[in-house]
Each structure stands twice: as C-alpha cells, then as structure tokens.
C-alpha cells in the first residue's frame, strides 16, 4: 500500500483490508478522529451507481416535459386570472407602462442593431450563391421573406429573452427571497395578478412592436447589401413589393406575440418558483433565458410546420 503523508485517503485505501496511516494532522483534528464517541456519526457514504446514457436521457426528457406541463398550467392560471376580471382593479397600468418602457423602449437600439445585421448577413450570404446562377435580384425575395417571417421575430425574441426574461425572473425571484411576495399575499394581492399580468401585457405588446423595427432595418440592411451586387435601391424596392405579402408580416407579428407571451411567462414562472438564497435567484435568471430561447425555437418550428 502506498503512503501519503498528507493524511488524506488515497486510492489504495479503498480496499477492505487497507488501513490508513494518518500523519501531519493538526492536534485538534487528530484528537477528533481518535474520539470513540464520534464513531456513531460515521455513516457509510451511499454511492449511487452512475446512470446509463438512456436513463439520463429519459430522466432529462421527463423533467423537461413536466416543466412544459407546469408552464402550460401557469399560463392557464394567468388566463384564468385575466378572465376573472379582478385584475382590472389590481393591475397597475403605471407598472405595466413602466415594464413596457423597460422592455421595449430601452431595447430599441440593440434590436435595431441586431435586425440590421441580420438583414445584411442573410442578403450577403444569399447574394454570393445567387450570383453564380445570375439570379441576384431574387435575393430580395428570399431575404425579405426570411426577415419578415423568421429573422425579425426570432432575433427580437432572443434579444428580449436575454434582456428582459432574465430580468423578470431575477426581479420576482429576489422579491420571493425577501418575503415581498408573502407581504403582497397578506394584503390580499395575488402575485400573479399584481406582478405577472403587467409583465405579460407589456411583453406581448412590446415584442411585436420591436419586431416591426427589426423588420424595417433588416430590409434596409438587405437593400444596402444589394448595392454591392449592382442592384439599385429602386430595383430592390420594386422587387420587394412583388415578393412579400401582408401575410408574411402578419405571420411574423403573430409569432412575435407568442414569443412575447413565452418570454414573460417563463421569466415570471422561474421567478415565482425561485428557491431560497441569492444563488437561487441567479439560477432562475439563467434558466429563464435558456428555457425561453428553447421554447421560442420550438414554437417557431411548429409555426413553420403549420404554415408550410
């Protein structure tokens, strides 16, 4: 058996017959380990066998499905609170406006930047391929449809999820940790009506508005890139009018509304289910972002399947 002088157990000591020689322990620690009365606190450490690949996948799937079921129940509770009508007395319109300002107005610069770059990138990539076939003008068609139906709502939602969804979870989570939610309940106020509904209302209103901004700058970015492929603004504009329909824009805005609902619902739900302590608040914020982005992409896929 190999020995180590630091007093810690080493690999060889795992054998049943092995004995451990302790060296260089501080006197207090050595005295503690030598005390017979502490023997009864020795309990065998239960080592769970590592789960197999399929078991882990199964557990993760079950966990995610139960989370989605819980989230649907939460959205149902919000809908019930809205239909009950009491929220008209409870919801503060000033709070809703404040949340909408924070979620919307302050997100405009980043949404404009991301939307513009998306338009530029998608048109440039399409243009490189289309040029080989002499079909550069049709890049306007592809770029415009991609921006209006997919990239505008999707990128806006991802920006808002990162910026605001995490904020909702952290804010409500911190309020829970500080017993503010209990304080609200003792005033007879339901946190769903008081905290969640204003955020839901703000989010489903603001995300489509931001999407319109992202769409506009995305199309402008695309038009700008078309210049480098010798397509003038006027040509791009004329081609655009023939390429897109009102439905493309409306579909994008319907998606954006759904994404707004998901961002607020996930953020608020993660906040309300925050555990104890400051670490739990951080975890809720992180999970809110991850869950909402995954759900946004899943819902986007469903829309693509349903509208194809």
């Amino acid at each position: 058996m190999s020995k180590r002088s630091d007093g810690f157990r080493h690999r060889g000591a795992r054998s049943r017959e092995a004995s451990v020689e302790r060296q260089a322990l501080t006197p207090n620690l050595a005295a503690m380990l030598g005390r017979d009365d502490l023997r009864d606190v020795d309990t065998p450490v239960a080592v769970e066998p590592p789960a197999g690949f399929f078991e882990e996948v199964g557990q993760a799937t079950e966990k995610n499905f139960s989370y989605v079921a819980e989230l649907i129940g939460f959205v149902g509770a919000c809908a019930h609170a809205t239909l009950r009508g009491r929220w008209r007395r409870v919801v503060s319109w000033q709070d809703t406006l404040d949340v909408a300002t924070e979620t919307g107005v302050k997100a405009v610069p980043i949404v404009l930047l991301v939307g513009f770059l998306m338009g530029v990138i998608i048109s440039f990539e399409l243009g490189l391929v289309a040029r080989q076939f002499g079909a550069v003008i049709f890049v306007v068609n592809g770029g415009a449809v991609a921006v209006l139906r997919e990239l505008g709502p999707l990128m806006t939602a991802i920006v808002v999820a990162g910026r605001t969804g995490a904020g909702f979870a952290a804010q409500i989570g911190a309020q829970k940790v500080d017993e503010e939610l209990d304080a609200l309940r003792t005033f007879g106020l339901d946190p769903v009506e008081f905290l969640v509904l204003p955020r839901l209302l703000a989010s489903i209103t603001v995300v489509p508005m931001l999407t319109v901004f992202a769409d506009i700058v995305g199309l402008i970015g695309g038009g700008l890139v078309m210049q480098s492929f010798d397509v003038t603004y006027l040509q791009s504009y004329t081609q655009l009018l023939g390429a897109v329909h009102a439905w493309d824009l409306v579909l994008g805005l319907i998606k954006a509304t759904c994404f707004g609902l998901i961002i607020a619902a996930v953020g608020c739900h993660r906040g309300l289910t925050t555990g104890a302590g400051a670490t739990a608040v951080g975890q809720s914020a992180t999970r809110a972002v991850v869950s909402s982005i995954v759900l946004i992409i899943v819902i986007d896929g469903l829309f693509a399947a349903l509208t194809s």
Binding site: Q175, D178, D182, A183, R185, T186, G188
Partner: protein, 260 residues
Amino acid sequence: MDTRPVIRVCDLRMGFGARILLDAVSFDVHRGEILVILGGSGSGKSSLMKTLIGLHDPLAGDIFIKGTSLVGADADEKAHLQRELGVMYQSGALFGSMNVLENVRFPLDRFTDLPLIQKNRIVRRLLRELEMLAAESLMPGELSGGMLKRAGIARAMALGCDILLLDEPSAGLDPITAANLDRTILSLRRSLDVTFIIVTHELQSIFAIADRAILLDPVSRSIIAQGRPADLRDHSNDARVRQFFNRQPDALAPDVITKL
C-alpha cells in the same frame, strides 16, 4: 364591550403532505393582548404564523378572525380577512423599488381612494409614531435592521389594522434597538389598542412585553404550555418549559461529559 376573541384557533393541524408539523393546536387571542408564540427551531412557529395569515392552508381545524372563518372563506373573503391583519416579516419585506414613504403608503394606494395628500398625512403620522419620520425618503437598502422592522410595522398598520403579527421582531438587533422596538410595541398597544401576535426567541423581550405565551414543542407537535411567561418560568411542572425559559442546554450523558 365585545369580549369575543379577535382570533380563535380551533384544533388546527398543519404540515406539508404526510409530514405533520403541529396537531390539535387551539388558542384564543383577545383584543389588546400581546401573545408570544415560542418554541425551539423546527417547532413550527413561523409555519403557524403563515397559517394564521392564510398563506398556508391547514390540514384540519379552523381559524376565526373576528368571528369569521378563514378556512371556509372564498378568495375575495380571504383577501378581505387578510387585510384585517397587519404582518411584519423578519426581514421587513419592504418593496425594494419604493422608498419608506411609498412602502407604507402602498396599501393605501391599493385599497383606498383617498387623495394623495391625505394618504401622505396618514403615513407620516404612522412614521412619527414609530420614530421613522426622518427616514421617509430612504430606500430599504439604506435602512438599518431596526429601521426596516419599524417601517415594516408602519406598513402593516397603514390600513388601520388592529391585529399585528410580527415575525422575529428582535432577531438580529442590538440590545438597545431591540429594547426600543419593545417600547414601540407597548406604546402602540397603549395608544391604538393594537393586538399583537409575536413569534420570537428573545427571552428578555418576552418577559418585557408579553401578556401570555404559548410554547410549541417539536416532539409532541403541539402546545405544551400557555400562560404568563414569568409564571411558566417559575412555576411550570414541565421540565421542558422550565428549560426553555431558563435557557438551559440539553443534558448530556455522563460519559460524554467526562470526555469533554
């Protein structure tokens, strides 16, 4: 004069699922009384308080607030009953986005149509009563522990509640601040006839302010003593009660004592 108890707890059983925390708990609280709920860690004091204010549903039994059942109430009635009770949480639970004045005014903003000037007048009177007037524009993060608790009491009283439940009001306070808070509680009882239910561990505070104490025991999961704190300390036949009030540690086995 109405001699009915302001709060009556009947055969309350509470817990989480199959885990029973307290069973067969019954007691009355009378107008103007200061009742202290005591017990070791894990005895269910805070859970009992949360059940009294309707945040947890009991497994069995009932709670009557001024004669109306809290358990049988629908959502609107429950919300109405909850507004009969003012609650101060251990941390103060002030809303972090509002200053002291706005925090205390919050229930008035929500539940009254009073003009702002009148609401502010009510709030400032309460803050003066609690010696917090100078701190009205401070944010919760700028307040000391004692100030947070005073502001929490002021907010709990803003709707004119005459029953206040305080969760560990002296916890984490220095002796002078804790004594000042005790004086405030007695002063509020004297001037506004407020009834207090206080969850605390602080023996000095208990002897200074409590009219009556109930002691919860985590082993028997019930009330093991009720009465005046000094009587319980000096005359109780129950060794657990005397141990609690005389602040004695658990007895150790003789062989352990020799090794120590």
